[in-house]
Symmetry: C2
DNA sequence: CGGTTTTGTTGCCTAGAAAAACATATCAGT
DNA sequence: ACTGATATGTTTTTCTAGGCAACAAAACCG
């Protein structure tokens, strides 16, 4: 049985309408403020159909018609469609020493953003309680025209897709914590949960460096290790249980050191931010200066200390092994590097390009583009919001 | 722009009809001979709609209504729908010392199969000429009621999706050969081309060990190396250019030997059939006995020579590294092993299972099933036929 | 043999997209 | 400013395809 994910089958007419509403809302959400005429061209649907679909979305409070196309072209101007600024997603992101919470509207504006520091890594219970309290306060400040849609919860760890169970988040010390359910119970809002790098991959492929690229690999280097997210056909690769994308645990060194995952020589153990900070003489507190300092050290004309050059070259070599393997497996159009991996690449792009030439087959890397991530510090807010909006975007009615 | 593969968008009624025809034909093709009532349940469509869809498919000559459900249940019997035995795909498969050609009907029956030996590896030109001559003869033998749909060409090498160019087929000595175009010109038939392991993955996931499994990895060990195919959401992973799935070129040994791909320590160089044949005292001509001999050597109660035991254990160890990496990346539901990799696994399944436990994270391998391939020697005929039928199944009208 | 159950068959209904005709708003050229 | 060309919104009509309900048919059961 070619049961596609178990949910195959008969299209009926309802699904046509639902699909078209979803397509239009998605285009509006992703493209900022297109005109009705643009939507007509882009979807291939009839003018009158687009008019009806937009009218229904306006009725649902999901979009507004605001102003007219200012393109100075002949012909009657077409109204601009904007996603509602009143439907909001709540982004929640527990970190090692803080919890980030933000409100993001369907039109992409970040309405509020708070950073609640904690003395130590919060337990799941503490994270949920702090988030719930903060959410309650943030929503209380808004007038009644704003409506929360859902919560997007982004966790630095492995998250099961079916129920949002955090299987393991080594750096927070969590294991088998039903955080999504706990947060749902504490707030009464639906919670959509995912791994942080997966959320980052969604964000970069929808709004960032990978905009419009349907086959890409996103790899992020953070304080707590290396995480990956893979986009195929424009959708995040989730795998059987939602744990896909763990590129940080690719073997890159047979003689490597033990990894917390139980294996050894993983990319995550061989390439770490800590080594870079030490080589640059920076403390953990200075981590946010890493990019500037590293790029300055490798600026044209600068003399790079040999120990630093060696470290960077070695780390890029290991990175190239993991990316080469992944390129042979996925044949991606683009690789997007975030966090300190982006800094590493920025320092010596030629080194990585050349090493990948060695480790990936000529055919699978043909046309491959490597880029640094484009979204900066907002990436996880945006990714979390996309998680929260996904159901609404898929079925607006 | 969330342009999904560039072909997004508006569903209109035509697409609903096309999709439903495709769904029904696909279910009939994949499930042998279902009843109309079963199709109704499976698709969720209305009885009358299924009746109309089936009638149209009958009209198109793609299915026949033949006999009635013999299930001895209450109620009016439902007619059985069979795929046509007259619409045929032509499977072509160049090998090191032969060219295999087969005719496979839409109902799955293999109508003809010929094995044309060659003195040496054929050039692309030779392969095309032999195949074209053989196809002409095979089709000439059939009466006019048979209609060829297309040719499915399966090549042991990297095949570009857009135009079927064989980028490289190291063991045939081909590079940048437009074989699909050549075969199209020689026969006048459409040619759909793919890598052999990719075709194997399609076959095993549609009709073999992975039937109904929508997230699986297929890995095949042959005389000419190790090839892989990855199925995600029920569809073959193709990547940006169609080269995805090259699991044979995953790094498994940092101190490994050079690979023809330009890298070193690849799975394909560290694990080869040749080593196994030598350890078992078999010649290349005896390769087909490998499975029997190896399994006999490891049969319960047998004493395994230590050199052989070590080799098998080492090879399974390397295999586990590649599969562990892939498991962390894809979080598959199943891994299917074909060719000598299936034999290796059959000899000592516990060794591989244990090694994968070590190399894949607990979450990503949760619920993972490892199986030997089920389709045997017909796998590439079936895979090639699926390639040829894919367009028809996607758009029957 | 009549009752029950399941499914095929037929005719009607409705949702929704396309198409066509008309209206409107802009630009370009005089 | 006026006129024509162009693009797009608006309204009405048409058509397609799937759902639904009523009826017919073919099996099993007691």
């Amino acid at each position: 049985m070619r049961s596609i994910g178990g949910v195959l089958n008969g299209n009926n007419l309802d699904q046509v309408r639902r699909g078209n509403l979803s397509t239009v809302l998605g285009l509006v959400h992703t493209n900022g403020a297109p005109s009705r005429a643009w939507l007509t061209r882009e979807t291939g649907l009839n003018r009158s159909t687009i008019a009806a679909l937009v009218a229904e979305l306006v009725q649902l409070g999901l979009v507004v018609e605001a102003g007219w196309d200012q393109t100075n072209q002949v012909g009657r101007p077409s109204p601009i469609i904007r996603a509602s600024g009143k439907r909001i997603a709540i982004a929640v992101r527990p970190e090692l020493d803080a919890i980030d919470i933000g409100l993001v509207a369907l039109d992409g504006t970040v309405i509020r953003r708070v950073h609640r520091e904690t003395e130590r890594a919060p337990t799941a219970r503490e994270a949920v309680d702090i988030a719930a309290a903060e959410i309650s306060e943030l929503l209380g400040d808004l007038d009644a025209s704003y409506r929360p849609v859902a919560i997007g919860l982004v966790v630095p760890g492995l998250v099961r897709e079916s129920d949002g169970l955090v299987s393991i988040a080594p750096h927070l010390g969590w294991s088998d914590e039903p955080v999504a359910v706990m947060l749902q119970e504490a707030t009464g809002l639906d919670v959509y949960s995912a791994n942080d790098a997966n959320a980052g991959a969604i964000a970069e492929s929808t709004f960032g460096a990978g905009r419009g690229v349907s086959e890409l690999i996103y790899l992020n280097g953070g304080a707590s290790g290396i995480g990956g997210g893979i986009v195929i056909g424009g959708d995040l690769l989730r795998g059987a249980n939602g744990f896909a994308g763990e590129l940080g645990h690719t073997l890159v060194n047979s003689a490597g050191i033990a990894c917390h995952c139980g294996s050894s020589g993983c990319l995550e153990t061989e390439v770490s931010r800590q080594q870079l900070l030490e080589a640059l003489g920076l403390s953990i507190g200075d981590a946010e200066r890493l990019d500037d300092v590293l790029l300055a050290a490798f600026a044209p004309g600068a003399t790079v200390p040999s120990a630093l050059a060696e470290l960077v070259e070695r780390q890029l070599g290991f990175l190239a092994i993991a990316l080469g393997n992944a390129t042979n497996l996925f044949n991606p159009r683009m690789i997007v590097l975030g966090g300190f991996l982006g800094s590493l690449y920025g320092a010596a792009p030629g080194v990585l390009d050349e090493a990948i030439r060695h480790h990936a087959m000529a055919a699978t890397r043909d046309g491959l583009v490597i880029q640094r991530a484009a979204l900066g510090s907002n990436i996880l807010m945006i990714g979390a919001a996309e998680l929260a909006f996904a159901d609404l975007l898929g079925n607006p009615a």
